[in-house]
């Protein structure tokens, strides 16, 4: 079953003059057709300005298409009367954790969405406790957010979204401002949520993160240029480099070795795999290069 579907989606950023007339149109999306299945873990890759964040903002009606359609759970996002239903279905987490935390106490912030939805206080308490325990920040529930680390803050933001019990979470470069430790924490949380059946759309420019997804979509100049499993995508090293993207370091190593004539498979994604393949070759014959 599909949860998000875009049909021939176009979007232009419009610049207005003082009188409210459009002076300039900056096209950001050119006819994007994308379907996200329920339970999927999709990574959207692209360098700066490729339109990946713009695309993400269409998934819960923050931006509305200039042309084309976006459906969330079969609801058209342009349907103003059901916008809160849509935003409850697709939660969103942004890059900077500081700028998305509203309240001065962790648990109050996690409760924010539920308060807006008019959930009764007893149920709010139950749902936020559950959400905070799930992302492992319950022990900080009385703390002030600015005292937490980046990874912890980002998990507070995720908990605030989880509390709405969404079917899908869109994360727009959630680890870009975090240190390696925080990045690991957040990626761990994201994977755990996906295992619990929540659909994940991860916008990122870290190849190592995209490699952990089950499906990768590559965007360039407002359009989708590649779509497939991480193995399929990262085996096309030249195509990725042409649009200004890198491949994970191991893949790069395998690619260079293959170019030099070593018989390695094209779709190596992690260190273990690479080591195993190399070990096999080294055991089999001395003539590594052919």
């Amino acid at each position: 079953m599909e949860i998000i579907k875009t049909e021939n989606l176009y979007f232009d950023y419009e610049i207005y003059d003082d009188k409210g007339n459009v002076v300039e149109k900056n096209p950001a999306l050119h006819g994007v057709n994308l379907t996200v299945q329920k339970g999927e873990f999709l990574a959207v890759l692209g360098h700066n300005g490729s339109g990946k964040s713009t695309l993400a903002k269409h998934f819960n009606g923050i931006l509305l298409p200039s042309r084309g359609k976006v459906f969330v759970n079969n609801i058209d996002v342009s349907d103003d009367s059901r916008i809160y239903e849509i935003r409850q279905t697709v939660g969103m987490v942004f890059q900077n954790p500081d700028n998305q935390i509203v309240a001065a106490i962790v648990e109050e912030d996690v409760a924010f969405a539920l308060e807006n939805l008019g959930v009764p206080p007893d149920e709010i308490r139950e749902r936020i406790d559950e959400a905070m325990k799930l992302v492992d920040i319950y022990k900080y529930h009385k703390h002030a957010p600015h005292r937490l680390s980046g990874g912890q803050k980002q998990r507070v933001a995720i908990a605030g979204v989880i509390a709405m019990r969404p079917m899908c979470i869109v994360l727009d470069e959630p680890t870009a401002m975090l240190d390696p430790k925080g990045r690991k924490e957040v990626m761990g949380t994201i994977k755990m949520l996906n295992e619990k059946g929540i659909t994940i759309v991860l916008i990122t420019h870290y190849m190592e993160e995209a490699a952990q997804a089950r499906r990768v979509v590559v965007m360039d100049k407002g359009a989708i240029i590649m779509d497939g499993t991480p193995k399929e995508i990262f085996s096309e090293v030249e195509k990725l480099k042409a649009v200004g993207l890198d491949v994970p370091q191991v893949t790069e190593l395998a690619y260079e070795l293959r170019k030099a004539g070593v018989k390695l498979p094209a779709n190596i994604l992690n260190e273990d795999e690479c080591a195993k393949e190399l070990a096999v070759i080294l055991k089999e014959g001395r003539d590594l290069l052919q």
Binding site: N60, I62, Y84, R87, Q88, G91, M92, F94, N96, D98, N99, Q100, I101, V102, A103, A104, I105, E107, E108, A111, F112, A113, L114, E115, N116, L117, G118, V119, P120, P121, I124, R125, I128, A144, P145, H146, A157, G160, V161, M164
Partner: protein, 267 residues
């Protein structure tokens, strides 16, 4: 470090006073202020002062904190004291030296005013010492809610206060960073003279404002994503609930108030 500045001066605790509904506490503070202004003599003032000190004892806030709360208003206390001392004239002259004459009435009024200000500030501080900023914000929203009928934006005001509380530590930290960054670029932030000092602020304020607007923009988007749509139909995680305790405290304060008024007539 700048980051460690606490907003408000809340001391968490579990005393009876901490557990009182913040709305009641605000009303109590207003009543206490009214009480101090109703008291016409030292006995009345004394009763009010003893009452406030007893409240401190119950709350478990250290008495040292009373002095801390009085620190910023020391100039005001001195000013009031001196002014009353020299300019209130009575029949009896207590002391006369050169052009200075102090009358007994002057001394009495002066002492009275000083005690009144001190007890007033001490009483008010107890409110912020025993209620968290969030509790106060909620209480103000709740107390002002009748004004909604007059289209006064009560919810928006409370939301603004909440967001301000959240972002003040962040912006302070950011100011710190910007100052360091500008110093590293050779900005002279320790300039002498008023105009130069004002000019030195520009390279700090402009980046600070730009970043604050960016933050506001992102925050608004994040709030929208979490279904924020104003105060209409909103529920709260923590509902302010009045308990018997609040009404008992209310009764107690009214009693003290009554005694002070009776005292005014008795003497």
């Amino acid at each position: 470090m700048l980051k460690d500045i606490t907003i408000g001066q809340y001391f968490p605790g579990d005393s009876v006073i901490h557990r009182l509904d913040a709305r009641f506490k605000i009303v109590f503070s207003i009543l206490a202020a009214a009480m101090l202004f109703t008291a016409q003599n030292f006995i009345g003032l004394g009763i009010a002062a003893v009452f406030i000190i007893m409240c401190y004892a119950v709350s478990g806030i250290r008495f040292r904190m009373i002095l801390k709360s009085l620190k910023p208003i020391v100039p005001l206390i001195i000013f009031t004291g001196v002014l009353n001392l020299f300019f209130i004239k009575g029949e009896e002259i207590l002391l006369s030296w050169w052009i200075i004459t102090i009358h007994t009435d002057g001394l009495r009024t002066s002492a009275f005013m000083v005690v009144r200000i001190i007890t007033l500030i001490t009483g008010m501080s107890l409110l912020t010492y025993t209620s968290s900023p969030i509790m106060l914000t909620d209480a103000i929203e709740s107390l002002l809610s009748p004004l909604k009928k007059l289209r006064f934006p009560v919810h928006e005001l409370a939301m603004m206060m909440m967001i301000a509380l959240r972002f003040i530590p962040l912006l302070i930290e950011e100011t710190d960073k910007i100052m360091m960054a500008q110093k590293a670029r050779g900005a002279n932030l320790d300039a002498k003279g008023l105009i130069k000092k004002a000019k030195a602020l520009i390279p700090i304020l402009i980046p600070l404002f730009i970043s604050a607007f960016k933050r506001a923009n992102e925050l608004a988007m994040a709030m929208e994503c979490r279904c924020y749509r104003g105060g209409e139909g909103r529920t709260r995680l923590k509902k302010l609930k009045a308990s018997i305790l609040d009404f008992l405290a209310f009764g107690l304060i009214l009693c003290v108030f009554g005694i002070i008024i009776a005292n005014n007539f008795a003497f």
